[in-house]
Structures are given as C-alpha cells and as structure tokens.
C-alpha cells in the first residue's frame, strides 16, 4: 500500500467521469457533498437485487438467508474499516449521518441530559451536528457552549478546560466540510472524557478520506454517510460503544427492533437491531461494503496522501494565478488538512462562480454548505467549494483555475 495512486486507473472505475458536460469533460470537484461510485459498487447492488433480494432478519429460505448474510457481512466490513472492537453489536445502519446524530440526541440525549446541563459544540459544525442539539436544548433547556474558531481556521482550544467544566456531552466534527480543517479530535475527546463528558464524532468528512480508528479517535459515537465514501445514497452509520448503546432507549419503534410486543408494551431487541426499526437499507449496505472494499484495496493512507499532494498543487497554482484576488477559507499548507478548498474570488458571488464553472464542466458547490453559523463567523453568506477525492488529478485543478479566469472576465 505504498507508492502514489494510479489516478488514471482509478478514473476508469468511475463511469460517471466519462461524462461530457457542455462539451467539456466532467471535472467533479464536489465530493465533500457527495462522492461518485466505482462500477464495483453498482455491480454489488445489482447483483444483490438480481440474485438474492429478500427481507432480512426473519427469513428461513435460502434467498433470505443469503440476503441476511450479505447484510451482516456489510456490518462487519464497515466495523473493521473504522476499527470497531465489536462490529456485530456496535455498527448500526441508519439512513445518513444526520439520522445517526439525531439518534444519539433522541436516545442518549433524552435519557441523560436534563435542564441546565451543558453541551459543547464548535463553531465549525455542520447543521447535522447542530440542529439536533439545538432542538434538544430547546426541549430540555440545555446550555450550549461553543469552541470558537481561530484566525488560522483551526479550533481555538485555549479555553477548552473552562468550556468543558461540567459539560455532559461534546459533539464535534473530525473534519470541517467548509474549511477542510482536521480537528485535534483525540485530544478534545481525552479532555472531554476527563471532564466526564460523552463524546460524539461527526465523521462524515473524515471517514471517507482518512484512515479511521474509533479507539484512536477516542469517541463514544461516530456518525458518517455512505454516499460521501463511494457508497450509495440511503445509508449511513452510527457506531457507538456497546455499553452505551446497551443502556440507551430505542429510537424508532417497529419491526425488527423488538423482542416482544404486547398490547400494553414491548421489550427491545438486542444490539444492533434494537436501533434498526423496519426494513433496513439492505442493498445499500451491500453497496457500502463494496465501497469499503474498494477503498481498502487502495489503502486509506494512499487516498489521503494523494489528496494532500493535490491540495498542495491547488494551493500553489491558485496563488500563482490569482494572488490576492482569490481567498481560500482554510488552514494554509497541508497540515491538519483535507482536500477541501472554500473559495472567495474577488466579489463574484459563489452562485455565479459555480454557474460559470459549470459551463466548463467544472462542478463546485456554492452556498453555506449547511454551516450557517460558521459562514456568519467567516463574514460571508456563502463560498464556492472545490473538494478533492481519489479520482481527481492535477488537470482537474488546472480546469478549475481556467474556469475561474473566465468567470473573472465575465463579472470583471
């Protein structure tokens, strides 16, 4: 697993990248919003549907047994990918990272947070890791505290000890989807645990791009989505420590999550099914497992290395070609950094930028990136965000720079 990534070979695995857009080759720079899919992921799902689909957990016949086997095998594959000590119990399939965090808020949160209790968030969080806590704070009259953002686009941890004092829960991203900043999560988690808090990691951005080990992160819960890591839409993951999951009340009620149901009550099933009410995303789990296998075959260190070298290239090219006309909201250099470039180009509005770039086949995301509090902190309503993944190469960065130049001419 050493040596550089063979991007040309990787690109061939992704059918969508053969697209032409407005007569140009597709330059997909929006993987932080959602990534593309290798053929092997699509094939795994098609094969599942065409040979073994059946509902899981309850079927005795061969088809259902095989569906069950593939679904549970996906759980093991995902668990291994993130270093889960007890994958069979601790990996819960949900619909997306957002549901994973909501589940923690609605179960652990409702069971353990009481009026006046403090929850610590950061100025970098995605709405998925904000709104569930805002909702719970309103319902339960909680105190919300905030780790601020430094001028270097990193978390300002000077005050951490004071902020942690008496805190019951810390919810923090492992990597900002706007700034690309990789947070010092393990240090925060250790301090939070010392202060007696439970720690939720929003891993939506880091799990697809960095080797992940829940033990090393030191989190109690980890949330992420398949669609940002080469997997399908419709499935995400909540990993939680078994003893915490055990003690939590269930989230949604329905089939599969019960041990018994009577007219006057029910008892919940064992882990992880207690948290998987209704028919789960079976084909999607199979697709996610195929995505995990694809990433593992390449190696996450190689994926990350590739992204950092592209990032360095982009930082250099953009500075050379645009100088002060272009601002990147994010740490300089490649330390504590993923391949996300949030751009402000002169005073061209990000929407207009993205529209003009699209004409050259270049896909970047314009908007607040579901991080409105962070946008307010940055003093802009929106940015144009280019984000990199294993299928991007230097020519994609060049295409971005060329298209930025056209936009400059248009909005002169």
């Amino acid at each position: 697993m050493t040596g550089p990534l063979d991007v040309a070979a990787v690109k061939k695995d992704f059918p969508v990248l053969a697209q032409q857009v407005h007569g140009h080759r597709l330059v997909y720079l929006d993987s932080a919003a959602s990534s593309q899919h290798p053929q092997s992921v699509l094939d795994a799902m098609d094969d599942y549907y065409a040979t073994t689909h059946a509902n899981v957990h309850r079927g005795v016949y061969s088809l259902a047994e095989e569906a069950d086997r593939r679904y549970e095998a996906a759980r093991l594959a995902v668990g291994r990918f993130i270093g889960a000590p007890q994958p069979q119990e601790e990996v819960v399939f949900v619909k997306n990272a957002t549901e994973a965090i909501n589940m923690v808020a609605a179960t652990w949160g409702r069971a353990n947070l009481h009026p006046g209790d403090a929850v610590l968030l950061t100025d970098m969080e995605h709405h998925a890791n904000l709104v569930p806590w805002l909702m719970l704070a309103e319902e339960r009259d909680l105190e919300l505290r905030w780790v601020g953002l430094g001028d270097d686009y990193r978390l300002d941890l000077d005050d951490l000890d004071r902020l942690l004092d008496g805190v019951k829960l810390v919810a923090c991203t492992t990597m900002s989807n706007v700034l690309g900043t990789v947070t010092p999560f393990a240090a925060i988690a250790a301090a939070a645990h010392d202060a007696g808090a439970v720690v939720v990691a929003d891993g939506a951005q880091s799990v697809p791009h960095l080797a992940t080990d829940v033990g090393a992160l030191g989190c109690d819960f980890l949330a992420f989505s398949a669609h940002k890591m080469l997997g399908p839409t419709g499935i995400g993951v909540l990993w939680g420590k078994a003893e915490l999951l055990e003690a939590m009340p269930p989230f949604l009620g329905g089939g599969g999550m019960i041990r018994d149901v009577r007219r006057d009550g029910f008892s919940p099933n064992v882990l992880p099914w207690k948290f998987e009410a209704g028919t789960p995303p079976i084909a999607e789990a199979v697709g996610l497992a195929a995505a995990v296998h694809y990433l593992e075959a390449i190696g996450m260190d190689r994926v990350h290395g590739h992204e950092l070298s592209l990032l360095a290239y982009a930082q250099r090219i953009l500075a050379e070609r645009f100088g002060d006309d272009l601002h990147v909201f994010g740490p300089e250099g490649t330390e504590d950094r993923g391949g996300v470039l949030s751009l402000a180009y002169r005073d061209v509005h990000p929407h207009d930028l993205s529209q003009v770039l699209d004409q050259a086949g270049v896909c970047v995301r314009a908007g607040h990136h579901c991080a409105k509090p962070l946008m307010r902190r940055l003093g802009v309503p929106a940015t144009a965000r280019a984000s990199l993944y294993l299928y991007n190469e230097e020519s994609d960065v060049d295409a971005l720079a060329d298209a930025l130049e056209s936009a400059g001419r248009l909005f002169g």
Partner: protein, 164 residues
C-alpha cells in the same frame, strides 16, 4: 462569454447587478421591513416598502445575494415604485408565472426545452423580461423569485395589519 450563459447573464442583468437600484433601507415606521431567505444557498434579502394611500410610494432593498437575486431585486424595485398595491400584486403574479416550471416539464422534460406553466404576457414585464432566461437554470429560479416572494409577504403583512 461561454456558450449557454448569455441567456442567464443578459447585459441588463449584469448592469442591475453592478449598479443596483433602490439599494438601502427606509425608516420604519412608516416603512415596513420584511426579510427573505433562500435556505438552499444562504442568500438573504431585506425589503423595505412604504405603502401610502394604496400605492407603493417607496421601496429599498438590502441584503446579500448572487447576480440573479440582486438584479431581480433591483429590477423589481424599479418596476413597482409608484404602482398601486393591486398593480404590484398583478406584476408579482405575472413574474412568478414566467418563472414557474410546469410540473410536466419537471417530470418528463430534459431540462432544456421547458415552457412556463401559463402563457405570460412578456410585454407587460418590460425590462423584467430579461430574467426569463433564468427558467433554463432551474436552481437559479429561487434566486430570481426571492425578492418577489419577500415583497409579496410584506404586502400580505401590511394587509393583515390593515395598512393597505
């Protein structure tokens, strides 16, 4: 200019974007202030409207947004000033129907050849007709209609308050 974009970024639109008309605030009261958000992109518009004797006597626009939302707001402000509330409501209706994508098109169309839901008298829109190219870029429609929806809401609020 790159192909395709000329329908969106007509000269008149870029002009209103670069030199927005009626930009600023009005003292309230007597003016009425209403905020509008585009939740998808973060654009915000603030409409200050002064209604006097059933007429939009003055209007100012504040807030931030892209060339489409800003120019649409600017064009709107120029178009409604001095008109009766009733005329303004008609104009809002006409403008929004120019901007509406027919449901059938959303479901069956290829994203390029859609026609608006109802026939629209473009002549009655004057300069505003320059915005019709936006319909070809469905995501931008919300940019173009943001200020109009905000103005409509302002008029509704005034009506509820018994002012107009």
């Amino acid at each position: 200019m790159m192909t395709g974009l000329e329908d969106l970024y007509r000269e008149i639109i870029l002009d209103h974007y670069r030199s927005p008309r009626n930009r600023g605030e009005l003292p309230e009261p007597p003016a009425h202030r209403t905020e509008g958000f585009n939740p998808l992109c973060g654009d915000e518009v603030v409409v200050y409207v002064l209604v006097d004797a059933g007429t939009v006597a003055d209007i100012r626009i504040a807030g931030q947004g892209c060339s489409i939302s800003q120019s649409s707001a600017s064009l709107m402000s120029a178009a409604v000033k001095g008109k009766s509330v009733e005329q303004v409501r008609d104009l809002i209706r006409t403008f929004k129907s120019m901007m509406s994508i027919h449901e059938a098109r959303l479901e069956e169309g290829d994203g390029e050849d859609g026609a608006p839901g109802e026939p629209v008298d473009l002549d009655s829109l004057g300069e505003l007709a320059a915005l019709q190219g936006v319909v070809k870029f469905p995501v931008r429609i919300k940019c173009a209609t943001l200020s109009w929806n905000t103005l409509a809401q302002a008029l509704d609020e005034l009506e509820t308050a018994g002012v107009s």
